[in-house]
């Protein structure tokens, strides 16, 4: 089942891992929805999040803050947040904020899934 909220969709992969198709934008307009959707997943037992940025043209400070919030939730439970198929606009934000030090990046969603298997 796909849960679509604003521009993103959450796809279960295993009991503990989901793929989040971030869609066109993660910014001040939908970051609260992203946070709420991820919190629901954490409550349901999900610990690992693969964020698929292949279609993402906008990631802003509020969007990045919502990802930090998710990271703060799952990292004490040995969960992971990883980035996949990072688009160029997102890469610019990752480089500016040096968040590549925190979030592992994979060229594709499949590569991320393999690493989390």
């Amino acid at each position: 089942m796909h849960v679509t909220t604003m521009s993103f969709a959450v796809e279960p992969w295993t009991q503990q891992t989901v793929i989040v198709r971030v869609g066109k934008a993660l910014d001040f307009r939908n970051a609260a929805d992203f946070k709420a959707a991820c919190q629901d997943q954490v409550r349901a037992g999900v610990r690992n999040f693969v964020l698929d940025f292949s279609e993402t043209g906008i990631l802003d400070s509020t969007g990045l803050g919502s990802i930090f919030s998710l990271y703060r939730q799952v990292s004490p439970m040995e969960g992971q947040v990883v980035f996949a198929a990072v688009s160029r606009p997102v890469q610019v934000v990752v480089q500016l904020t040096r968040t590549y030090k925190v979030f592992r990046q994979f060229p594709t969603v499949e590569a991320a899934r393999e690493a989390l298997r």
Partner: protein, 150 residues
């Protein structure tokens, strides 16, 4: 591209409209090849963060919002001026507060700092016309970064 001006009045649409402009400029190859795609994206991020700040926090009182975006490409450097008719605020004070209050992996408070980090030069003041004016430039030879506590 020569200097260009765009006027926005609808805060609900301004983010999408600004991004559409950048998409149009990308299609037209509007900027110098010396100012590469990553630098255009950095400038777009700076514009986005300021517009997001205006949409979320600016006090326009009973005035109809009017925001003007001027872009002045100049080879390896692009200057942007964003002028608005809000009541404005103390940017330096807000930046300093945000910098001091930044927790590890912060949820909020990174926007203005990201804007500052992305730009080579940044100035905000009330103009003679009573409008508030943010001016910044992004340069091709910048390697900007923002320190966020991890």
């Amino acid at each position: 591209m020569v200097a260009t001006r765009h006027r926005f009045t609808d805060l609900a649409r301004i983010t999408d409209d600004a991004h559409d402009l950048f998409a149009q400029w990308a299609e037209e190859g509007a900027f110098s090849p010396l100012f590469d795609e990553d630098k255009v994206l950095l400038m777009r991020l700076a514009v986005h963060e300021w517009l997001a700040n205006l949409v979320q926090h600016a006090d326009f009182g009973d005035r109809k919002p009017e925001i003007l975006l001027d872009v002045y490409p100049n080879g390896k450097r692009v200057r942007c001026v964003i002028e608005d008719n809000s009541r404005g605020f103390d940017l330096d004070l807000h930046m300093e507060r945000r910098r001091q209050a930044l927790d590890p992996f912060p949820d909020r408070g990174m926007g203005l700092l990201m804007l500052q980090a992305a730009t080579e030069y940044l100035d905000y003041r009330r103009g003679d016309n009573g409008r508030h004016r943010l001016e910044f430039s992004v340069a091709a030879d910048q390697d900007p970064w923002l320190t966020i506590p991890f």
